[in-house]
Each structure stands twice: as C-alpha cells, then as structure tokens.
Symmetry: C2
Subunit: 196 residues, 2 copies
C-alpha cells in the first residue's frame, strides 16, 4: 500500500472504502454515493464489491473510485477515505488509508480508533434516536461523507437516496441524510473554532 | 475484446454483464448474484458498477466476475454471459460477448436480437402477469441465469434474494426467482427435445 501523496496529485482520482459488517447497508450506501457522483454530478465512477474469505466471516465493504479522468484500474490502490462501522473493519482496512486520508468511524462501535485524528460520530445510535430505525445508519454516514468531502452535490445525493431507498422508506432516508449533513457540519465548525 | 477461448480455459474465471436501463433493478440483481456465489457458495467474486457518459444516457449495467482463483483484474475482459433487457444494451454490449458466450434477452424489449442463438424470455411481461409487479423482472432474470449456468446453488440464491429484497417484498421476489428457474428449465428441456 502506497503512502506516497504524489500518486494523488497526478490526477483527481479519489478512493473510498465503506466498511463494516453485513446488514449495515454499506453496499447500498456505496451504490448511492457512486450514482450521485457518476450520474448526477458527471464524474467517472467505479463501484465495487469483493466477496472472498473475509466476506464469509461477516465483513462487508463497498469501494468507490471517482475521477474526472478515465479509470483504468477500478479497485482502490490506497484509500483517501475510510468509513469503518465496526472495530474489525477499522482494524482490517486502516493500513490501506493514505497519509492525510480521512478516517470516519462509528464512535460507539469502534472502541479503539487507531488514531485520534479521525471523525467519530455515533451513526448507529443517531439512526435509532433521530430516525427510529437502526438501518439508516448507512445513509447518515453517507450524508457525513458528502458534507466532509463535497465529492457530490447535496442535490445529487438527495435525488439518488430518494430513488434508491426501499419503497416506503424514502422520507426516513432523506431525514437520515440531513442528520448526516448536520452532524458533519457541526463537527467541522467546532474543529475550526478549537483551532482558532 | 478477445474472442480467444484459451483465456477461459486457463482458469474457471467467468464474466457476466447484466444490462438494460436505469430502474430495471440490474444493480440489485448483480449484488444478489455476486453474494450468492461469493458468500454462500464460497467462490471469489467481484461485482462492479461503472458510471460514465453512457450511464448518463440512462443505460445501466452491473458486472460480475467469479473465479475459484484470486481475481487480479476485477472488470470483465470479455463476457461469458450477457443479459440484455433493452435493445440499446444488447446493441452496445453484444460485441463484448465471447465466442460461445451465452446471450439472454427480454424477448419483448429486444426486438432485433443480433443472433438467433440466444435465450429469449418475456421477463418483464412475466413479472406483470405472474407476480403482478414489473419491478421483479430483474429477479426472474436472475433465476433464469442461475438455472442455465448453475453458477450458484438454488439454495444460496434463494437465501440472498430473501435477505436483499426490500422489506415486505420477500415473497414476491422468491416467487419471481422460482418463475425464472422454471422458464429456463422448460426452455432447456424443449431445446434438448428439438435436438433429438
């Protein structure tokens, strides 16, 4: 795994992994993120699931590579952003994160973050308390990712969440997305305030 | 695009593309097929969506590569199976099909098949008449693919369809899967009978 920043500066290729356990809806979140950037925002995007021995242990991951250039190699070569919703996923994939890459974790489920330099949000807890359904932790995470990275416009991701949410859950998912935007916005504001 | 069969004989790598238009549920079908083979049946599988200029025209495709070996290059290099649910998708991707590759089309939506040597089923019509919902054409197609190729066990794909179907639609989707198994089984029987 390369920690060499020069790879990144040669193009705007950006590599993302959403990771956790099966049932956390990370593949759907990956499809939504990819579609928001690729169809709505007009970038080239490849979204990948890999199943092998690790998937059979219950781990789940969805990879998204985005670039304004043609994507010749569709799997991540190093991560610019890692979302980890379980300790196991965090432990497994943290070494793939590039220097200055962004780590986002579920603060209740990742008890031992490998670095203090990360964004920690109680995604799963918020899904329960704010929306009433644990299943939307994935879309809250998606909102936080979009707010932090600006990789997709908010309108594009809203449109995709609305169209890809299971029938009847559109409003809950849109509300979850807004929760994600909000918690990330507040965290970034408070980080800036602390730095002043 | 290679038409060279020797590539295939070097390993059991098998490359599949599910294609049509947005809204036909092909990404979900791709995820289900990949998961059935990768998690339940223990093969290595990579499942990919690519978004670029063609996706912005409304086309949709999901690729699945499966092998008992490690998959170094995750995108198809040539197709062993192409499912085409629209004429446009069929016209676009038929040239990627390997010699002796399997073409499966929606017989009502692909009016001009590029070859008579294909499996043609009225997936979308059957979704309406047999299940009462056009949205399950994707899962009928999935059933036909599994019956024809035996790439996944029926138990594995049933389990995945049940877990990945939107909440409340599990039974409809399982029924759709059975329709897919049945129409493919009957078609293969009648082909064999005609050949005798």
């Amino acid at each position: 795994m390369s920690k060499n920043k020069s790879q990144q500066s040669q193009s705007d290729r950006y590599e993302i992994r959403l990771s956790g356990s099966g049932g956390q809806g990370l593949i759907l979140a990956g499809v939504m993120l990819a579609e928001a950037m690729g169809v709505e925002d007009g970038k080239n995007v490849v979204q990948t699931q890999s199943y092998g021995p690790e998937a059979r242990g219950g781990a789940s991951r969805a990879d998204v590579v985005v670039s304004t250039d043609t994507i010749y190699y569709p799997k991540p070569m190093g991560l610019d952003l890692l979302l980890a919703l379980t300790q196991e996923a965090c432990d497994t994939y943290f070494s793939d994160l590039r220097e200055h890459g962004i780590l986002i974790i579920d603060s209740d489920l990742v008890h031992q973050p490998p670095t203090p330099d990360c964004f920690a949000f109680p995604f799963t807890q918020l899904a329960k308390t704010e929306i009433g359904h644990v299943m939307v932790a994935n879309v809250i995470s998606l909102g936080a990712i979009v707010e932090i990275t600006k990789l997709s416009s908010k309108d594009a991701v809203k449109k995709v969440v609305k169209s890809r949410a299971p029938v009847g859950t559109e409003e809950k998912n849109l509300k979850a997305l807004e929760v994600g935007f909000k918690i990330a916005r507040e965290k970034m504001k408070s980080s800036k305030a602390a730095a002043v």
